[in-house]
């Protein structure tokens, strides 16, 4: 049965206190349409999808399904009419099997007995997987799947409940290149079945690759809604920012010959092999590759989080003891920004100020008591320097947007004694505007003479930031480029393990 549903949202408004998060928004999604929804953080796209998903209530306006109004006052109402939202944090249960997850809450039993019909559930899941050309074992425990597969399980669960409109919030942010391609293929198959998808993303190539229509939101209003064939990446970006994007331009600077970090013959079985490189003062060295290329493990070895490696790491002329630990590293001028901001980066219930000052509290104490004045000074300066948007320094950090959280993570390392900063995926899940701010902060630090080692999986970011780039493939450095000979296609080929005909 082909889905012929049409969902319309008419004149939707929603205010939070004084702010109009949604201002008279009209939005529609047709059967089998992939509809990209874009906008900077705070533009209103998540408020719109939350209204649709029944998580928050609209103040004004109506939602129509095939022309007749529907009431969506809680998430289960949305599910009942076939709307499902796939969040960035997957809601799968790791300890249960794929089939158990897909049937959670509506298990099949043998006849009228209370006993689960595991065979029939597995068979139905297999059927579903086959329909969409996917390969996952229904009996595998979800905890053993990678994030791409977990996401697929999550989507299948929605499809198995006869959902026909799937809202995906930044679905590719945690996926490897390979899994992204699988997801896109899956989306195309769903489209063929008449499933509609609202696709929230910041990535222009993705949007123009798979979406039929793109709608841009800015300040709670829809400012553009066009078929993707009838608009352009530039036009979308222009509407998102409301101004021509002032491209981030790499500043001129001189890289010193003084090496802050030297890595020699670094080896860890199964992770990386024969890694040799240096980072000079003021230099930005970027490691790139596909997920699983071994780069994060190298970065963690340098910071002292891993100790089971062979080889030598020399930092400021001093050979590091293996697994020296973050405490030693921080005291000796190393900084580290984790790839998992919410888990390893911020302390959610603490204030912005506490989050910024934490690593350097030890320096600002008198007889063991924290020197509040000095700390406040550092915090205020850090917020100013990074352009962090927060109501006050006492605001709990969990209320900030992704980009601002990341700026706070950076703020911790603006200390004048910083010598080497290690950044893992510094702009993951951040909108274009905040990205430019982050790049500026990185460049400012480099100009100040800090050596910077970045891990990035985004080619455009690599090209923008790197003074020198190392591409890794399955634990080997396959190429090294300087600014003069860096080319996008070469980088992509190296990352993907394409053999060069030398």
């Amino acid at each position: 049965m082909k889905n012929e549903n049409l969902l319309e949202m008419k004149s939707i408004s929603k205010s939070f206190f004084e702010t109009k998060a949604l201002n008279n928004v009209d939005f529609a999604c047709h059967a089998g349409e992939v509809h990209a929804l874009v906008g900077l953080n705070g533009a209103g796209k998540s408020t719109l999808t939350k209204v649709l998903g029944g998580v928050i209530q609209r103040d004004e306006g109506e939602i129509l399904l095939n022309g007749s109004p529907v009431a969506i006052s809680r998430p289960s109402d949305a599910n009942d009419i076939g709307i499902a939202t796939i969040h960035q944090e997957y809601s799968t249960i790791n300890e249960l099997t794929v089939a158990a997850n897909i049937f959670l809450g509506r298990e099949l039993t043998i006849g009228k007995t209370p006993f689960l019909d595991k065979r029939r559930m597995a068979a139905e899941v297999r059927e579903l997987l086959k329909r969409f050309g996917l390969e996952i074992d229904p009996r595998e425990t979800v905890g053993n799947l990678n994030s791409g597969e977990k996401q697929i399980v999550e989507i299948l669960r929605a499809l198995a409940t006869k959902s026909w409109l799937i809202v995906m919030d930044e679905p590719t942010s945690a996926l490897s290149e390979e899994d992204k391609q699988k997801l896109f293929e899956f989306i195309r198959r769903m489209q063929d079945e008449g499933i509609s998808i609202i696709y929230i993303s910041h990535h222009m190539p993705e949007i123009f690759g798979i979406a039929d229509r793109v709608t841009v939101m800015r300040d709670g209003k829809i400012v553009l809604s066009e078929k993707t064939g009838e608009t352009s990446e530039d036009a979308v970006i222009r509407e998102m920012t409301g101004e021509d994007l002032d491209d981030f331009i790499k500043p001129e600077k001189t890289v010193s010959s003084d090496k802050v970090l030297e890595v020699k013959d670094l080896n860890k079985p199964g992770q990386f092999r024969d890694i040799n490189f240096t980072v000079a003062r003021g230099e930005i060295v970027v490691m790139t590759g596909l997920r699983g290329c071994g780069a994060p493990e190298i970065a963690k070895s340098i910071f002292g989080l891993e100790k089971d490696y062979a080889g030598e790491i020399t930092y400021r002329g001093q050979k590091l003891a293996k697994g020296q630990g973050p405490a030693w590293s921080v005291r000796h001028g190393m900084g580290f920004v984790s790839e998992n901001r919410d888990k390893n980066g911020i302390l959610a219930p603490l204030s912005v100020a506490d989050n910024i000052s934490l690593p350097f509290l030890y320096k600002n104490t008198k007889l063991g008591v924290i020197d509040g004045g000095a700390v406040n000074g550092i915090v205020d300066k850090a917020i100013r320097d990074t352009g962090t948007k927060t109501h006050s320094s006492a605001t709990e950090i969990r209320f900030l947007s992704g980009g601002n959280k990341q700026k706070v993570c950076f703020s911790r390392w603006l200390d004048e004694n910083l010598e080497l900063l290690i950044l893992l995926e510094p702009t993951r899940g951040i909108d274009v505007h905040a990205k430019a701010d982050i790049y500026r902060i990185i460049e400012d630090l480099a100009v100040r003479g800090v050596g910077i080692l970045v891990l990035s999986y985004e080619v455009d970011e690599v090209l923008l930031l790197a003074d020198r780039v190392l591409t890794l493939y399955q634990g080997d450095v396959v190429s090294e480029y300087g600014q003069s000979n860096m080319e996008k296609e070469m980088l992509l080929a190296d990352m993907a393990g394409v053999q060069k005909s030398a």
Partner: protein
């Protein structure tokens, strides 16, 4: 990975238990006698009931600290009814109704009022202890003699204690419910991520209250068996020791104390392990104080081994 290695890894508690048995047998051949095996099977019944009730609570991400002292309290309730009526029927009805009611009380506070299970059940533990002392002043006891207590305490079928057969049947029932009905999936889901479980349409509150009602019932049943085996009831019984043995059994058996993971088979073998340790340390005439020290050491060693094996599995799968 070879099959033997996988078998060892996933069922290591069995091998650890068997290894301990071998050691104890070498030290004291009397350990392996049929009489002693039989004694172990009877000793572990109250611990086993606590472990079984606790298992579901822990997998759901909670804990029930009241179970030990509650079983002492309910053994006293049975004793009081026995003293008043000279029979056990009303006592058993009262124990079952009372223990389920206590569990529902715990569960409701945890589920509906979102109070931490640790504090709620710690409070019920205090109440059970206090009420026990109120009913029978310390130093006094009620003797329980009669066919029912003899049956529970000493009746055998095919040379196996009836109480152990009862426990084994309960474990099998629990295995079926946990692995082959939706209740098991729901408990695991709640222990993994309560919010997601709720979004899947699971009635989380009902499941939680049900789990605590069952752990309450298990305390009541443990109380009945305890009273029959001892032949008397008094408030000074070491209920908390019982509770700790029960918790240790399931944790050694691979249940994650933080919830979300565990197997009934593992819990059963953990129980056998605890039973063997308790018995053999008695058998070897280890002094009480040292008994506990040894027990602590052996449990840590078993857990460390579990952990090492678990870690090695993690590496293997990546």
């Amino acid at each position: 990975m070879t099959n033997a290695a996988r078998l060892f890894r996933e069922n290591n508690i069995i091998f650890v238990t068997l290894a301990c048995c071998l050691v104890f047998f070498l030290i004291s051949p009397r350990f392996a006698s049929l009489d002693n095996m039989s004694a172990i099977s009877r000793q572990i019944v109250p611990i086993g009931l606590i472990a079984l009730g606790q298992f579901f609570v822990v997998v759901s991400g909670n804990i029930d600290l009241s179970m030990g002292m509650a079983s002492v309290f309910f053994s006293i309730v049975l004793g009081v009814f026995f003293g008043m009526t000279g029979g056990v029927a009303w006592g058993i009805v009262a124990v079952i109704a009372g223990s389920v009611a206590m569990g529902v009380f715990n569960g409701t506070l945890v589920a509906k009022l979102k109070l931490p299970a640790f504090i709620v059940t710690l409070s019920t533990l205090f109440m059970a202890t206090g009420l026990s002392g109120l009913i029978i002043p310390r130093g006094q006891q009620i003797f329980l003699i009669g066919p029912f207590f003899r049956y529970i305490g000493a009746e055998k079928y095919f040379g196996i204690y009836a109480s152990f057969l009862f426990l084994a049947a309960l474990f099998i029932l629990a295995y079926v419910v946990y692995n082959h009905t939706r209740i098991g999936s729901y408990i695991i889901a709640i222990g993994n991520n309560e919010e997601n479980a709720k979004l899947s349409g699971i009635n989380v509150n009902a499941v939680k209250i049900g789990i605590f009602a069952f752990s309450g019932l298990c305390s009541g049943l443990a109380g009945i068996i305890l009273s029959a085996r001892m032949g008397f009831v008094q408030p000074g019984l070491d209920g908390n020791g019982l509770l700790m043995d029960g918790i240790a059994a399931i944790i050694i058996g691979g249940t994650l104390i933080l919830g979300g993971r565990g197997t009934i088979g593992g819990a059963f073998w953990g129980l056998i392990f605890i039973g063997v340790i308790n018995n053999s340390l008695n058998l070897l005439n280890v002094e009480d104080v040292w008994h506990l020290v040894f027990k602590g050491v052996v449990i840590i060693a078993a857990l460390a081994m579990n952990w090492v094996l678990w870690e090695s599995r993690q590496v293997q799968t990546h």
